[in-house]
Subunit: 141 residues, 2 copies
């Protein structure tokens, strides 16, 4: 754990990449009003429910690797809260037997972290797929 918000934010993805449920649990504040919107869904609320959802997602996912780009941190409330936005470039592969099994995807995420006891922890998170609107736009022209 770390007092550096970017390091804690990065640890979140390491928890997913390594399927580390204990690390994931350590990264969240334990409150009933926390929330986590996985891509395409309504928010999961409350830390125990959020952690269960991550355990299920990590158990059902194959290999995932995250390359983060455009990471921006905004601090508010005299540094007590941070909002981290980024693009998650996700490589996924089921079994890794063939390079063709790899799939890529892009997700925009907004994470809200709170500072307490010298640690940053996740309070809320919203992740959503980036949609390619190119075809629709071109048809409109």
């Amino acid at each position: 754990m770390s007092g550096d918000v970017k390091a804690v934010h990065r640890s979140f993805y390491e928890a997913i990449e390594t399927g580390d449920v204990d690390l994931m649990a350590a990264l969240w504040v334990d409150r009933p009003d926390t929330s986590c919107a996985h891509p395409g869904t309504t928010p999961v609320r409350g830390t125990p429910t959020i952690l269960r959802s991550w355990t299920m997602l990590m158990a059902s996912s194959g290999y995932l690797q995250f390359f983060l780009t455009d990471v921006q941190v905004a601090y508010m409330a005299d540094g007590a809260v941070a909002v981290v936005t980024c693009t998650e470039n996700i490589l996924s592969g089921q079994g890794l037997e063939d390079a063709d099994d790899f799939q890529g995807g892009q997700v925009t995420s907004t994470s809200i972290l709170v500072h307490g006891g010298g640690q940053w922890r996740f309070h809320s998170r919203h992740a959503a797929p980036i949609i390619d609107f190119t075809t629709d736009d071109e048809e409109d022209d």
Copy 2:
């Protein structure tokens, strides 16, 4: 404007519904580190750019009406920051000449508001479509 975070959050949708650019501008803190992720996109950053994006969206949209459900507010940093999550049930109609022109959609949104000078204002926002995964799930069974 109001010191009630739910009222300010609701005003945001009234600004869109009525195409009120001035109200929209009054609802945001003016900072370079604000962010707004419209559905399916990477975040727009900085208040002037965010407001331009809303002006363009409001100019290009037809009639929109928002029915908010599952509105939840989480306060942090001794009430200096609030995270408002909800489901936006959106009715849209182009021209309203025929009831069949209405279309509905659902969006999950996470809004981060900060308190200052007795007012709540938007700092960041992330909105993303709710996707119906039913067919895919059924095919997997």
